[in-house]
Symmetry: C2
Subunit: 395 residues, 2 copies
């Protein structure tokens, strides 16, 4: 039988990063291509303790069916926590627990996006979200990212030219993959433009709590008096990604639609994981844990940037204040796909930048390095190899 | 701002059952409306042990990102288990771990169903699946269920009249809500019809392992030599629903598309839960556990049917061999919505049958009782009340 897939997914392909991961799984290859939190960042002992306690005291509570909206104590706690720490959330919002932040992108697409409608993204942007928008036949419109966020003239032009824009997708802090943080001025401007053109903003903030230098900049959601911002937060980088817990703060009407859609997607998220997150946030010192994470990643990031300065002077990169990625650039003369292939043959795996573009076939002189997954030795060895390669091809 | 939801979900409403659950949450109301496994059916001690061991030995393995396809040892074990126990799966199939079986319906809809294409369902059928098909603007075509499954003449007629049918959705064992099991003859006929008309079959089998009387009937997937059956199995009823682990055995090409779609939905399912299922299936006596479950549900089901015979002779019902539900019928003279409302006012909550129809506005003389969630006392009290009500309105 010849299977007839739906129009929306007929041409969908596995993400380019997945293909690269195939090389990365070769134990001889140093993978700088992943996006995994550092193994030392997981609160293993605490989760073990919490889990033990749950199963001793009330196992049924984490084994029985639960409600689609999410574990009520976690939702209530997050409301308070987000309000107090970042002024996120109002009377007009509600909070939904999701199976990772990827599901938030799925819910946004499914409930808001008609086929052919436009999603404006930073270009480059997170490939996972782009692929979800693509999977609902959304049309991606990329806006170039500068060192302080999207180019706002370009954003307004795209809004003018695409009257059928549904939402702007942005990762305002230490953007994946560019590492860029959007300035407060641009956040305000983006909000004004969204309001002016009647579109929503999806503010995806998985790394926000991992700022290791500089001043925190208010979330766009913190000045959302018009109820046009859908905020996405996640436990993947601050507790653990394998348990798949994230949350969205969205205007109530949108929240209600999300709940109906989530009911049809997976009924509810794993409830054990939700209880673990709640207990961890409330019975342990969560703020101190975040401090430790910032320390771990600050050391790793600085180590990586020092290595680049020392061993790969021909590779330009954007200095970062947080997150897990460094965005590297090579001169126009370099054939990037060729460079990345040669790197793999030399046992180092990075992600070619075009994988993150709204049009993957566009030319891109950048590649992404992740420094949270490899060990220090691997990082040093890997960057030395990249530096030598760059020296060799850039005269 | 007036939110403009997508066409596909604009008219989507929370399931009728959800609305009924609001009454059911009143502690004074006896809920016969849920579908929860019995609390005594959960292997709490074993899951506690497994979880403890995981966190002592290799916590990172259940906390780090994992692969979309699912935990490899679980997939490999399920392949063997399904092949040996039910002859399910061939060289042409692969197996994907999902976040509950609801996600399988989502993946089927997303990857196969264009807006307006037809899904043929048993009428009545499981409301959760119907709502997922609806959420992708699939058109539902119901085929009446007889005591041995769908009426096959009616099925063929619907296939003839709807050339744009994408798949037939069936729950062959102790169907939710009707309790009906499809005969082998009808399974073979359904397969032949699907082949003849070039449509797929989704075989949803969450209760198959819970047969407590009569002979097991081979799964449709067991004679799928043409690669047209997508099989859905689940741990929700045989381990625990709150951990959200299910699996689909699908032709490889469809499997590959599912993987890409799942990547965009939730990246992967909670990995702790997948390891728990694997360890439980392989390190404990899973077959004996199933035997115990069958005993628990057999006792509960027979107790419930005896109560109906004794206290509610005017309520007709379909005798069951497995599953968690009993489908009750009242004479045509009875106004069913009114009956269900009166029942709630008398502190018993059941689900009116029309909630399970492809057209909820159609008239339906049935209602669904769940016997796995309430205690024996609640069941007895509840059925006495229903019996009295029936006596009162049926002259």
């Amino acid at each position: 039988m010849e299977y007839k897939f739906s129009q929306r997914v007929k041409n969908l392909k596995p993400s380019a990063i997945r293909e690269i991961f195939k090389y990365a799984s070769d134990p001889e290859v140093i993978s700088l291509s992943a996006g995994n939190p550092s193994p030392e960042a997981f609160p293993c002992k605490e989760i073990e303790e919490i889990s033990k306690k749950i199963f001793e005291e009330n196992p049924i509570s984490v084994l029985q069916y639960s409600v689609t909206e999410g574990y009520t104590p976690l939702r209530e706690h997050l409301k308070k926590y987000l309000k107090e720490s970042q002024n996120i959330g109002s009377q007009n919002d509600d909070i939904l627990i999701t199976s990772g932040a990827q599901q938030i992108m799925d819910l946004c697409s499914k409930s808001l996006l008609n086929e052919g409608e436009v999603v404006i993204c930073e270009s480059p942007s997170f490939i996972g979200s782009l692929n979800t928008f693509r999977s609902y036949n959304g049309k991606l419109a990329g806006v170039p990212v500068e060192s302080d966020g999207m180019n706002m003239q370009a954003l307004e032009k795209v809004l003018q030219e695409n009257k059928n824009t549904k939402f702007i997708y942005t990762i305002p802090n230490y953007q994946n993959p560019s590492g860029v943080t959007m300035s407060l001025e641009k956040r305000k401007k983006m909000y004004e433009l969204a309001k002016k053109y009647g579109v929503l903003i999806i503010e995806d903030n998985p790394y926000g709590e991992l700022r290791y230098s500089g001043e925190a900049i208010p979330a766009i959601k913190s000045f959302d008096t018009d109820n046009i911002v859908i905020y996405a937060g996640s436990f993947s980088k601050v507790v653990a990604p394998g348990i798949r817990v994230a949350y969205t703060v969205a205007p109530k009407e949108i929240f209600s639609k999300f709940v109906v859609c989530k009911q049809g997607s997976d009924v509810h998220s794993n409830i054990w994981a939700q209880v673990v997150c709640y207990e961890y946030m409330t019975k342990y010192n969560f703020e101190q844990h975040l401090e430790e994470l910032r320390k771990i990643y600050s050391i790793k990031a600085n180590f990586c940037m020092d290595l680049l300065d020392k061993y790969a002077p021909k590779i330009k990169y954007h200095k970062i204040d947080g997150g897990l990625f460094i965005w590297c650039e090579l001169p126009k003369s370099v054939d990037m796909p060729e460079f990345c292939k040669t790197a793999v043959l030399n046992k180092v795996c990075v992600v070619p930048g075009n994988a993150f573009l709204t049009d993957e076939n566009e030319k891109c002189q950048s590649f992404r390095i992740n420094f949270s997954t490899p060990t220090d030795e691997q990082l040093e060895k890997g960057i030395k190899i990249l530096g030598k390669l760059a020296d060799k091809i850039i005269k």
